[in-house]
Every structure is written in C-alpha cells, then in structure tokens.
C-alpha cells in the first residue's frame, strides 16, 4: 500500500486482526456458532474499486449497518450481508424466541445491534492499542446496491479500505466487515502509527 510503510502496514494489520478477533468472538457469543474469518485486506483504493470488490463476490444488493466514527481519524464502519442472508442472521440472534412472521419487523433493530457490537469491537481494538479515543455514532440500517453503499458516485475519491469476510458455516451466512477512511484521515492515522512505533522503539 503506497501511503503506509511496510512496518506501518504490518502494525495496522495486527491491530485490525485483533479487532476482528474480538468482533468474531462477540458474534459467536450472539449466535452460538463458530465464525470463520478471512485474512484481512487493507487497501488504498478508489471508491469505485471498493464497490467492485463486493460486486466481484456476486453481491449486488446488500443489507446491513453503517456507523460513522470520528476522533483522531474519521470514516465509516460497515457490516454488510447479501440481502438474502440477513433474516437468517436475525433468527439466529433471537434464538427462536420470536415467531418467524415477526422477524422482518425486528430485522432492522437486530442488525443494528449486531452491527453496533461488531463494528465497535474493531474500533475499540484500534483505539486501545494506540491509546486513542474514537467516537462512534449510532448504527444506521442500510440497504441498497454495492455502488450506492460505497458512494461509488464519488468514484475517484480515495479511501483506505480495511475488510474481512466472515462466515457462519452452520447457518450458511456470509458477511463483510469494512472500515473506510477518507484521504485526510489516512494521513492522521499514519501519524498515530508513527508515534506508536517510536514509543515501542520500532521505528527506524
């Protein structure tokens, strides 16, 4: 990745990894099933390319949660599912305490709660590791095309795109956790990484 050095990239990957571990643990507790995680990918790309990453997985319409965060750096955290997966996840969360007919009514609420927990786990890991205070907004339910979700209309603007795919194999549910930072925040994050590396006497 152009803007970060190999050491910064490695450090960020590790922080993200820890966060995704926490997120997977939380999700596993909520649904009572094992969660499999992909290797996280960290990319500096244009918004249009970010949308294509989802489209290339044959995910054209998604449902999920978006949560803005700000503080030392700003961006959006997203938890996304192919639209056909979301009710199955809600059913797992509510553990058959709600009749199937009532699930759709609770879908937005349930996804927001799941998203809130998972996305905050990732942010908290980064905040704690680097001694920062990140403010996360309220989770918002979203549904739409991958292009709309990624604001690919602003296609040339750069984003720092961190994502991991997860799978609840027992229920055949796939999902995606994404953190996107805008260009200015990439620089701010770089400064934080450098401070950490210096503190740990790892910078050259």
């Amino acid at each position: 990745m152009e803007n970060f050095s190999p050491l910064q990239n490695d450090l960020l990957t590790e922080a993200f990894n820890l966060g995704m571990g926490l997120a997977a643990s939380a999700l596993s507790q909520m649904v009572g099933e094992e969660i499999k995680l992909s290797v996280p990918k960290l990319l500096l790309i244009k918004r249009q390319q970010a949308a294509k990453i989802l489209i290339n997985k044959n995910i054209t319409t998604v449902t999920g949660v978006k949560q803005h965060f700000d503080g030392p750096f700003n961006g959006d955290a997203l938890l996304l599912f192919p639209v056909e997966n979301s009710l199955a996840l809600v059913k797992l969360l509510l553990k058959n305490t709600v009749p199937d007919d009532d699930l759709t009514e609770l879908e937005e609420e349930a996804l927001c709660e799941i998203g809130n927990i998972i996305l905050n786990a990732g942010l908290a890991s980064i905040a704690n590791m680097f001694g920062q205070d990140i403010h996360s907004g309220l989770p918002n339910f979203i549904q739409g095309s991958s292009e709309n979700i990624m604001h690919a209309d602003n296609q040339d603007s750069l984003v720092f795109f961190m994502h991991v795919d997860f799978c609840i194999a027992a229920a055949n549910i796939n999902g995606y956790i994404i953190y996107m930072l805008d260009a200015q925040s990439i620089q701010d994050l770089g400064t934080i990484l450098n401070k950490y590396l210096k503190k740990m006497s790892l910078s050259k």
Partner: protein
C-alpha cells in the same frame, strides 16, 4: 425480595434480550424499560430502582451522563453500563464514577451476574 430494574437502551432487541433473561432469573421482579435518558429519568422519578442497566451510546444524553444523574438521585442502586463500546477510555470513565461495566454482547451469564451482585 421483589426488586425493580430499569433497562435503558435505544435498541429494542437489547431490551428484549435483557428482559427475557431477568424474567427467567427473577420472575417476580418489576422490569421497566426506557429507550433513552429522558424516558429513563421520567420513569425512575419517585421510584425505588434497585438495578439500572444502561447502554452507553444512545440518542441524546449518553449512558455515563445518565448514570451520574442516577448516582445522585438513587444512591443505593446498583448501576451497570452495558455497552458495545469497549474502549478502555469508557471502562475507565465508568470506574471513575463508581459504576459497573459490562461489555456486550448480552449473555445469560452476564445479566445474571449483574442482577445477583
């Protein structure tokens, strides 16, 4: 002893989950719910509330600010911040004002631990 518990969380699903666990553990207890700080303050007014379980990130006043109000007005109540925001900074703030901190997700064990304290 029959107690009263007030659950404050903007998430309906969270309130449902906590309520279900408390009902099973303590079927005789009075369970009150509020979606935000304003509702919670109105609901708790002039009542004895033995336990408060409060979310941190809500529209309007956050859970820590609400907890400070309840610390003053309900001195003998047990207050727990139950939140997805598990940053050290939030944990530290909860500890500083003398309330319990529990991280979401909500589990049977966590809620039972809170209400059995």
């Amino acid at each position: 002893m029959i107690k009263t518990i007030l659950i404050v969380d903007d998430s309906l699903v969270s309130r449902m989950l906590v309520t279900a666990i408390v009902k099973e553990a303590q079927p005789d207890w009075n369970i009150l719910e509020a979606r935000n700080a304003d509702e919670a303050i109105k609901l708790a007014d002039n009542k004895i509330i033995h336990h408060f379980i409060i979310d941190y990130n809500m529209p309007g006043m956050n859970g820590l600010e609400l907890a400070k109000i309840f610390i003053k007005d309900h001195e003998s109540s047990r207050i727990t911040l139950l939140t997805a925001n598990i940053q050290n900074s939030i944990r530290d703030k909860a500890a500083k004002i003398g309330i319990n901190f529990k991280d979401k997700p909500i589990t049977d064990e966590k809620i039972r631990t809170i209400i059995e304290e």
